[in-house]
Symmetry: C2
Subunit: 329 residues, 2 copies
């Protein structure tokens, strides 16, 4: 196999590394990633030690092969280059729409642009895995995608390694995160999404665990996870199902902004309050807010961004939120 | 000091133990407890080993003395006899009332019947301890009680040991429980309340931590406590600020009954959904639901009891909930 220096047409490909010392190529399967056509030609020099070439072949089944590149500095560098593909929905159920219907156009486009035909569904946020997978799978099937529950694989970690796309559904965030830890899937999912560009879809609890931690979930802590640290696919927190205070309400429990304010008394990370019907789309280092295809009168969409010691800021659908992708945002 | 066998008039007193072997009296300060006048005369025989007499003297300052009774079986037996005194409010703020005002009559009576003049306030559920203690303390002062924040004592554990009454305020349940663990107060508070009959007042988060665990809090998990297990002053769970689903609502986040149902998919304990304005009063093995002094039209009070695999049951104020005090309720 020879490395080409010409522009490539394939949508995704592996990265080959040549060390100056040896002159030989080393295939780094752990940093295989996908790129948008037309932007693939890269020649990266890291000091005078490494040159990276791209090879226009994509083999989905190579995902499980061993990592042979040992240069951790290189891996870290490439991880930042790799195109994250995240589709983070506030919720699956949205007032005025059928189940997942509000996301049909954008989610279909998201899968198609990433050449996804088969989705690995992770139903751990609820207890009836079969029923939950059937519920989501039947919708995806109507849209032209196949869907299989991770619980039907003998080895969930291998299922993640081979997945074309990973979709974590909503339910109870504590149960979901505990199960991901129990099945030792945190690192594998993180690796596939961040280092291999495997598209990730989350809804509600699935969106919560995609962020740095579940500290801003609304869910009841029905089980005790070994940590609140989550996948860390984005460097901030999200509050799904974000809802504005009811100015005429008689209930005295804390409002959502009050709860997020309590979080900021003890934590620094920004919190994106994502209203139902809204989705955060992340492509590489860019992040964009997406709204539903049609907006019902009198219903608020978009998101409200809360930062420590600052007034919250409102963002309409189609706003860029790329600034949040910086670690020190 | 001689032991009297006659009925005693003091409201509370110490327990003296005489072993048949030695014939001498041993004062068990660890099982000092309080009783309602008129029910104090007790003569308890445990097999043929021990006879227990009551002595009609109560010295508040004896609480800190060492335990000299070593018969663990006896201690366990007496612990069940000891009169728990719990005043568990759903919330401090209630629609239509000033801060804590809905509880004024009952809480005043609770303190007075237990000869409490000075309240130890634990403000750990919020971050500004001084402001929080001042807020609660100013109300208690108007009602004739003094109040001091536990944070003003050099040794919080010693403060608990000497407290006439313990009052844990609301805020964030996760922060509260983490701090109670950090300051190693779980066992001391539990001991004082269950084994010494020290009156306990909780509101919201303070009510949550009084139960077996915080698995049914509504709060945001802004910090990670070392466990969700709590004081266990009652053998069931409470959901404070309980609110019925809004049948006309457009929000799709889980309703409170749905969240409690998720809890019951993985846990067995009954959950008492305690509406704002309601209080659970526990005296020994009896538990009674208390409502606000006046009920506003159109507002629901009382509580809704959720059990695994059963239809929820509604309880009006003044209902007896003593059946919940059994471990296997």
């Amino acid at each position: 196999m020879h490395c080409r220096r010409t522009a490539v047409r394939a949508k995704s490909y592996l990265v080959y590394i040549r060390t100056h010392e040896s002159g030989s190529f080393v295939r780094s399967s752990s940093i295989a990633f996908r790129c948008v056509a037309g932007k693939q030609k890269r020649l990266i020099r890291l000091g005078n030690r490494l040159t990276i070439y791209h090879y226009p072949v994509w083999d989905r089944h190579l995902g499980g092969t061993k990592t042979v590149a040992k240069q951790t500095q290189l891996i870290a560098f490439l991880a930042k280059m790799v195109k994250r593909n995240l589709f983070l929905m506030s919720s699956s159920a949205v007032h005025g729409f059928g189940y997942l219907e509000h996301a049909q156009t954008d989610l279909t486009s998201f899968f198609e642009s990433n050449s996804v035909q088969k989705v690995l569904f992770i139903p751990y946020a609820l207890t009836d895995y079969d029923a939950y997978t059937e519920k989501v799978g039947s919708v995806l099937k109507r849209w032209g995608f196949s869907c299989k529950g991770i619980h039907t694989y003998p080895d969930p970690c291998a299922a993640v390694q081979q997945a074309e796309a990973i979709y974590i559904g909503g339910g109870n965030t504590f149960l979901l995160l505990r199960t991901l830890y129990e099945k030792q899937l945190i690192d594998p999912i993180r690796d596939r999404v961040l280092n291999h560009g495997v598209p990730y879809v989350g809804s509600s609890a699935g969106t919560n665990v995609a962020t740095r931690s579940i500290h801003t979930t609304n869910d009841m802590p029905i089980v005790y996870p070994p940590s609140f640290e989550a996948l860390g696919l984005v460097p901030f927190n999200i509050n799904p199902h974000y809802i504005d205070p009811d100015v005429n309400g008689t209930h005295k429990g804390e409002t959502r902004p009050e709860r997020i304010s309590q979080f900021h008394e003890l934590n620094d990370a920004p919190v994106l309050g994502l209203r139902e019907g809204s989705t955060l789309f992340v492509g590489g280092e860019s992040a964009t807010l997406i709204g539903p295809p049609t907006e019902l009168p009198g219903v608020s969409y978009g998101a409200r961004l809360f930062r420590k010691n600052q007034e919250p800021v409102e963002f309409e659908p189609l706003s860029s939120l790329s600034f949040l992708m910086k670690e020190d945002a």
